[in-house]
Symmetry: C2
DNA sequence: CTGTTAGCGCATTCAA
DNA sequence: TTGAATGCGCTAACAG
């Protein structure tokens, strides 16, 4: 083949080929400054001819803008984050920005490392679903900001950080879901996916603290659950809260435990996908039928939830919209930086939807 | 706060702070060349003190290496690609490379644009699940290679392109799955997720051509289905192949159609997740029970498949491993570039697994 | 072992 | 309108 395998042509090569000065070529290729139509044509033709492609690295060097956004999430393979990243990716690509995606496996040290990578690569902004629980553990984020990199949080807020955040109202969503269960007549409602505490705390406070101290969304959802109980004056029972490893297997174990209780739950609120599948396994093992024997509501809808028998009532999160909104806010911040002063920071709360299907029924009369 | 909000410190700043020459500072910070232990300490301390972070862009400018890989997939929100990207990401991060992820929405024009973005940003290598069907439509890939960017294909091969490819054997996997159905006694087996052809072709060739011309994996899976039929001398019936839009809704429509046939299928082979959920919807509408009335095997296992009643027999793809292997091959190629000549290109085929659960049974006797 | 010098490819004054 | 000169921050010979 005739294709050049050597060094890629630069602006100088184009200039030579077109018979003009470097900067004239640079101006037409970079799309700035004045160039006469004729010369313009000539340069463009020359560029085309020798296969010129602008070197974005060099451009970033001199402009200080990389047109790259950094995205930090726990796990890109998690469908929730997959949706968020897709939303970010589509929205930013439409505005000429690309995304460097890093997974932290829910580990703060990895998050710090990821942030440094993004700082080093001079991204223009960062969107992060942070594992940090407070400002004290989020100095890496402050670091990035100090260097003029805009940061917006997604999915999880970090109390004490004055940053834009794009979220859903986890607490309200959980509260509504549990309220729905209570309205159906349930008073013994299991909470599946709890704080990864060792042993079994009895005090409500310990549970909440444990959840909050592990992951922001978990804490919110647990509080929403408690809110709903409080609203109806239902007494809280620590035995109905899952505790320990957050895995499908352990959810199965914990639900099995709850089912053995003298006064077992008649409904389950699952705050994660794996919590739901783990619960379903436990119910099957116990020979219990969904709806008839025990009601179910889960977080994060999926196409499977609708085809299972009976179809599951689920809370749907607008994953794509979360990502798109985060990108939008970030990009607006990047634009605004050049102009006005810092605009006020805010929480952007997107709506969730409780999709009612058929996994909620009255509790069985014993 | 005291944090500098001004311009980030450079190597010169560190040199000044440490009282040494630029290059001495550069050598210790860049980790190359000789530096005396004492000076080294001094420079490191100075860097720490003023909060120096190396500018990866500038480094890439002079070294010609960006330590960034480009990843092009159809849709990062698709769980399959989510797994692949996670595999790539983890494997490359472990070797100091980050990933720029671009989604093409299965559109070749977007893939070309994405490739150009990656060329411009000077990535060191590209991993792509290409929508290109042959070498003729993959000139953008050749373009990248011509510029010295290593490319490896993942999930989909491109006939005629001499490139490393990390794949599963779609044809064999499909053939095994369908053979399993035949072994159970089925002879009328529906193929769900076919070529997006208009109208209903009767000739086997048209179907295969249609599939192949749309997506590499689709063609392979269809051929595997045909292989299995041929092996057992079962006559092919075009009515048992889904045709048209590749959506859950349309799969439901097509399966409903098959069910209305004078001689309806007693088993279904679903080549995608949405094909499976669409099929399940159609079966429910028709009041058919899985296994007892109709057997099912699907592609891409998920935790839901195991909790559905009855549990579904599925083909599992090693998504993480596909990504990890692709990154490995790519990185090896990048390393090798400096040393030996081009090593021979190859197909790396990873194993799939047929997870037998309970959705396959004998066909019902009528 | 250390400092000087010269690019990498582009954007950006500033004269012409 | 165009072109020559300078700098972005770093690496990489090279001489000291």
């Amino acid at each position: 083949m005739t294709t050049e395998r050597s060094v890629p042509p630069t602006i100088s090569d184009v200039a030579a080929e077109a018979g003009v000065g470097r900067s004239t070529a640079a101006r037409t290729l970079g799309g700035y400054g004045y160039v006469s139509p004729e010369v313009r044509e000539r340069v463009l033709a020359a560029a085309e001819r020798i296969g010129y492609r602008t070197n974005a690295l060099a451009r970033s060097m001199s402009t200080g803008v990389s047109h790259t956004l950094g995205v930090i999430v726990a796990d890109i393979a998690n469908p929730f984050f997959g949706g968020v990243v897709r939303g970010i990716s589509d929205a930013s690509r439409a505005r000429g920005f690309d995304t460097l995606v890093l997974s932290t496996h829910e580990d703060l040290a990895e998050e710090v490392a990821a942030t440094n990578v993004l700082i080093d690569k001079r991204v223009d902004g960062i969107i992060v679903a942070s594992a940090a629980l407070d400002a004290a553990s989020a100095s890496h984020i402050e670091q990035a900001r100090a260097r003029g990199i805009k940061v917006v949080l997604v999915d999880r807020a970090v109390p004490g950080l004055d940053l834009d955040a794009v979220l859903i109202d986890n607490r309200a969503a959980a509260r509504d879901a549990v309220a729905r269960l209570i309205a159906a007549g349930h008073r013994r409602i299991g909470f599946v996916w709890g704080p990864p505490i060792e042993g079994r705390p009895r005090r409500r406070r310990d549970l909440v603290d444990g959840a909050v101290r592990n992951l922001w969304t978990d804490g919110e959802r647990l509080q929403g659950y408690l809110d709903a109980l409080d609203d109806e004056g239902i007494v809280f029972d620590a035995d109905l809260v899952m505790v320990g490893a957050k895995t499908e297997e352990h959810a199965q174990v914990e639900v099995a435990r709850m089912l053995e209780l003298p006064d077992p739950p008649t409904a389950l609120f699952c705050t994660e996908n794996d919590a739901m599948t783990g619960s379903l396994r436990a119910l099957r093992d116990a020979g219990l039928r969904v709806a008839e024997d025990i009601s179910l509501i889960g977080f994060d809808d999926s196409s499977w939830a609708a085809v299972i028998e009976p179809p599951l009532t689920m809370i749907e999160q607008p994953t794509l919209a979360l990502g798109a909104k985060a990108a939008e806010v970030l990009l607006a911040g990047i634009d605004g930086e050049e102009k006005g002063p810092d605009t006020a920071t805010a929480f952007h709360t997107l709506e969730t939807r409780l999709i009612e299907r058929a996994s909620v029924a009255e509790p069985p009369r014993r």
